[in-house]
C-alpha cells in the first residue's frame, strides 16, 4: 500500500511574509487484497427514552442486526448496551470472531434488549476500549448510537475517557431522533477520528449502519499518522483535514523530534483526503527558496508517501498575489462550517440578527463553492433572497430535525474542482 501525496499551493511570497499555506491531497492506493484483521464494537443506547417512541429501539435493533450481518467472517466483534452504565450484550466477555453461529447468537441477544435507565456515554466508550484490548494490531472501529444527552455522568468524566480512548479506536457516532446534542457527539467523533451524523427518522438506521460497517470493512490499514516537518523557528498554525469533512487536527500533535510531530489520521481504505497545512516561518531573502514543511504519511516507522510545502520569496507581485484555488476553496469551506455553527448557536440563543448575518454568509459561501448539499440544508432553515449577496430571512417554522441536520453536517465539505 502506498500514499500518493500531492501538494497544491502558491509558494511565492512577498518579501518578509511568514505564512505558508498548502493543501495536501493524500490518496491511498495499492491496497492489499488479503483482508486485514479487524475488530468492531457496536454500542447501542438502551436508555429509557429509546422506548419513546417505541420505533426507536425497534429500529436500533434492526440496524444493529444489519451491521452484524455486514461483518466479514473472522472479524472480532461485540455488542454493548449503554445506559447509565455499560454492559456487554454479546458475547458475555471480550470479542468473538464473526461466523454464521456467532452472528445468529448476537442477533438473538440484540432482539432481547430492553430499554431502561440513563445515558453515560463515557462509560460506554470505556467498556469498548477495554474490549479492544489485545486487538491492537487490528483495525479497531466502533459504532455509537444514542438518542439523548450525556446526562448521567459529569462532562469531565466524558472528557477523561475521550483522552484515554484517543488513538485506541475509531468511532462513528449517530444520533437518532432530535433529543441529543450535536456538539456533544461531535466532540466524541472528533476525538476518535470518526464521523457524526443525524438519523432523524429511526427508519433510516438500518441502511446507515449497514453502510458504516461496510465502510469499516473496507479499511485496510490502521493508525496512519501524518508527520509534519517544519524548519527551525517555524510555528505550525494549524493542520486540518478539509475533505471529505472538516476536522481540526492541530491539537492532536505528538512531537516526534525537534522539528517534527505526528497527527493521527485513523484508518484508511482506498480513498483520498485533503489536508490544509498552515505554517509560519522566518522569512528568508528575496530569491531564496525554503522547505516550509515536509508532509509524510507513516504506518509504524514506514514512510508510505511524502510531499513538500515550499516558500519562495519574490519581489514580483504577479507571482506573490496568485491565489491557489485549492487553498482558497478550503479556506472558504472552513469558514462555511464555522458560520453555520455560529449562526445556529445564535438562532438557539434568540440572537436573530446575528443568526441572519451568519447564515446569510453561509448561503453565499455554499453557493460560491458549489457546495450544493449544504446549500440545500441551509434552504430548510432560511429563505434565500439572494445567494450571491447572501441575503436571507430566517424561516419562521423550522423542524428540529432540519436544524440539527444542518448543524451536524456543517463540517461536510465539497471537494475542490480540479482541471
Amino acid at each position: 500500500m502506498s500514499f500518493q501525496v500531492d501538494v497544491y499551493q502558491n509558494e511565492y511570497l512577498p518579501a518578509g511574509a511568514r505564512e505558508v499555506n498548502a493543501i495536501v491531497t493524500v490518496t491511498a492506493t495499492g491496497l492489499t487484497t488479503s483482508p486485514t484483521a479487524a475488530a468492531e464494537v457496536i454500542i447501542i443506547d438502551c436508555s429509557g427514552s429509546m422506548e419513546y417512541p417505541r420505533a426507536k429501539l425497534v429500529a436500533a435493533k434492526q440496524a444493529t442486526c444489519a451491521a452484524i450481518d455486514a461483518l466479514r467472517d473472522g472479524v472480532a466483534f461485540a455488542v454493548v448496551a449503554g445506559t447509565d452504565t455499560a454492559s456487554t450484550v454479546y458475547p458475555s466477555a471480550g470479542l468473538v470472531a464473526a461466523s454464521q453461529r456467532t452472528r445468529r447468537e448476537a442477533k438473538a441477544a440484540v432482539q432481547r434488549l430492553k430499554a431502561g435507565g440513563g445515558t453515560a456515554i463515557g462509560s460506554w466508550l470505556s467498556l469498548a476500549s477495554t474490549l479492544f484490548r489485545g486487538h491492537e494490531d487490528a483495525l479497531r472501529h466502533a459504532i455509537l448510537l444514542t438518542d439523548g444527552r450525556n446526562e448521567h455522568e459529569k462532562p469531565a468524566h466524558l472528557e477523561r475517557v475521550l483522552a484515554e480512548c484517543e488513538g485506541r479506536f475509531v468511532c462513528d457516532c449517530r444520533g437518532v431522533g432530535t433529543d441529543w446534542e450535536v456538539a456533544e457527539l461531535r466532540k466524541v467523533s472528533t476525538a476518535l477520528l470518526g464521523t457524526v451524523d443525524i438519523v432523524a427518522d429511526p427508519a433510516g438506521l438500518e441502511a446507515d449502519f449497514q453502510a458504516m460497517t461496510a465502510d469499516a470493512m473496507g479499511k485496510a490499514v490502521a493508525d496512519v499518522r501524518l508527520r509534519l516537518w517544519t524548519p527551525q523557528g517555524a510555528k505550525v498554525k494549524f493542520v486540518k483535514q478539509v475533505a471529505p469533512s472538516m476536522v481540526d487536527l492541530t491539537g492532536k500533535r505528538a512531537d516526534t523530534g525537534p522539528r517534527h510531530g505526528d497527527y493521527p489520521t485513523g484508518s484508511w481504505g482506498s480513498e483520498s483526503r485533503d489536508y490544509h497545512v498552515c505554517v509560519e516561518v522566518n522569512p528568508a531573502s528575496v530569491g531564496d527558496v525554503m522547505l516550509a514543511g515536509r508532509v509524510s504519511l507513516l504506518v509504524g516507522d514506514e514512510v508510505l508517501g511524502q510531499g513538500m510545502v515550499k516558500a519562495v520569496w519574490t519581489d514580483d507581485e504577479a507571482l506573490s498575489t496568485r491565489i491557489s484555488k485549492e487553498v482558497a476553496h478550503y479556506t472558504g469551506q472552513a469558514e462555511l462550517a464555522g458560520v453555520i455553527q455560529e449562526g445556529m448557536r445564535a438562532r438557539r440563543d434568540g440572537d436573530l440578527d446575528r443568526a441572519t448575518a451568519k447564515l446569510g454568509r453561509a448561503v453565499k459561501l455554499a453557493a460560491e463553492s458549489g457546495n450544493g448539499d449544504t446549500a440545500a440544508l441551509l434552504a430548510k432553515v432560511v429563505d434565500v433572497v439572494d445567494p450571491v449577496t447572501g441575503t436571507v430571512r430566517l424561516k419562521a417554522k423550522v423542524t428540529e430535525a432540519d436544524a440539527m441536520t444542518l448543524d451536524t453536517r456543517s463540517t461536510k465539505t465539497s471537494r475542490v474542482r480540479r482541471g
Binding site: Y8, N10, T230, P231, Q232, G233, A234, R259, V281, N282, A284, V286, G287, D288, V289, M290, L291, A292, R294, M308, K310, V312, W313, T314, D316, A318, L319, R322, I323, S324, K325
Partner: protein
C-alpha cells in the same frame, strides 16, 4: 556525503536539497550548467536575483553538424523551469534524429503543453531558439525573445527578430499560446565564425551584434571560453535574470583544426 547549509551552516543531507535545520534551499545542479563539446559550448546560470534557473540548454554534436537549443522559461508563468527543460529535451531529440527545425518546435510545443496547469491564465510557458549548424550554413528557428547571432571574422548579425513588444512577449510555447508558428531562417556565411544563441539574460546587457562581436571574436577559437566570458559579463552587470549562452563554431570543426 554531507555538506553544510548555505544559510545556517548546519549539516545538510542532500536528499531533497533543503537544509534539515533551517529549510533553506541549497544550490541545485541546475543553478550553473556547463556543456563543453569542443566545437560548441553552452553555459546556463541562475544569475544573482532569481531563485532558480528557468533557462535550459541542450547541445548535440552529430556527424557534420552541431545542434543547439536554448529556452527561457517565462518567469510569470507557473513551472517555468519545467517548461524550458521539457522544450529543449524534446527539440534536441528531434534535431539529433535529423528532423527539421519545424518538427523540433512542434515537439517542444507538445512537451510544454502536457505540463499541468495549476493556476488560471498561467500555463507553463517558455521561449525557444535553436540552431542547426552545418559546414556552410546555419538554420535558426525561434519563438519568443531568445536570440541567435552570427559573428564572422568581419561581419556581425542578429539572425532573429524578437517576438516581443517592449518587454512583453507576443509569442511563446505554452498551452495558452494558441497555434505556434516558428520563424525559421537559414544563413550561409561567406567566412568562418561562431553562432551565438542566448536568452535575454545576456542580451539585456549586450544587445548589439557589434558589441557582442567585439567580446566574442578574440575567443572565437575556444567556444567554452567565449561562452564563459559572456556569462561572466552578464553577471558582472547585475545578473538580474537567468543567463544562457551557446557559442558554436561554423564550420563545426574541432579546436585542433581551428588552430590551423
Amino acid at each position: 556525503m554531507t555538506v553544510n547549509c548555505a544559510g545556517c551552516g548546519s549539516a545538510v543531507t542532500p536528499s531533497d536539497n533543503f537544509c534539515e535545520t533551517c529549510g533553506l534551499g541549497q544550490p541545485t545542479g541546475r543553478d550553473h550548467v556547463e556543456i563543453d563539446l569542443g566545437a560548441a559550448a553552452g553555459i546556463s546560470d541562475r544569475g544573482l536575483v532569481h531563485h532558480r534557473n528557468e533557462d535550459a540548454v541542450a547541445l548535440h554534436v552529430a556527424e557534420n553538424a552541431v545542434l543547439a537549443v536554448v529556452s527561457d522559461g517565462v518567469s510569470t508563468s507557473d513551472l517555468a523551469d519545467e517548461a524550458s527543460r521539457a522544450a529543449v529535451d524534446a527539440a534536441i531529440e528531434v534535431l539529433a534524429a535529423g528532423g527539421a527545425t519545424e518538427k523540433a518546435v512542434a515537439a517542444a510545443v507538445a512537451a510544454v503543453a502536457v505540463l499541468p496547469i495549476r493556476y488560471d491564465d498561467t500555463a507553463p510557458s517558455c521561449t525557444y531558439v535553436s540552431a542547426v549548424i552545418k559546414p556552410d550554413e546555419v538554420t535558426v528557428g525561434w519563438v519568443g525573445d531568445s536570440r541567435a547571432y552570427w559573428i564572422g571574422a568581419t561581419e556581425a548579425l542578429l539572425l532573429t527578430v524578437d517576438d516581443a513588444r517592449g518587454h512583453a512577449l507576443t509569442a511563446w510555447l505554452g498551452a495558452d499560446a494558441g497555434e505556434v508558428v516558428p520563424h525559421v531562417t537559414t544563413y550561409c556565411p561567406a567566412e568562418p565564425g561562431v553562432v551565438v544563441l542566448c536568452s535575454d539574460g545576456l542580451w539585456n546587457y549586450l544587445g548589439s551584434a557589434d558589441d557582442l562581436a567585439d567580446l566574442t571574436r578574440p575567443l572565437a577559437a575556444e567556444p567554452m571560453s567565449a561562452a564563459a566570458e559572456l556569462v561572466r559579463l552578464a553577471i558582472g552587470m547585475g545578473g538580474h535574470d537567468n543567463v544562457t549562452v551557446v557559442v558554436a563554431s561554423l564550420p563545426p570543426t574541432s579546436k585542433r583544426s581551428d588552430r590551423r
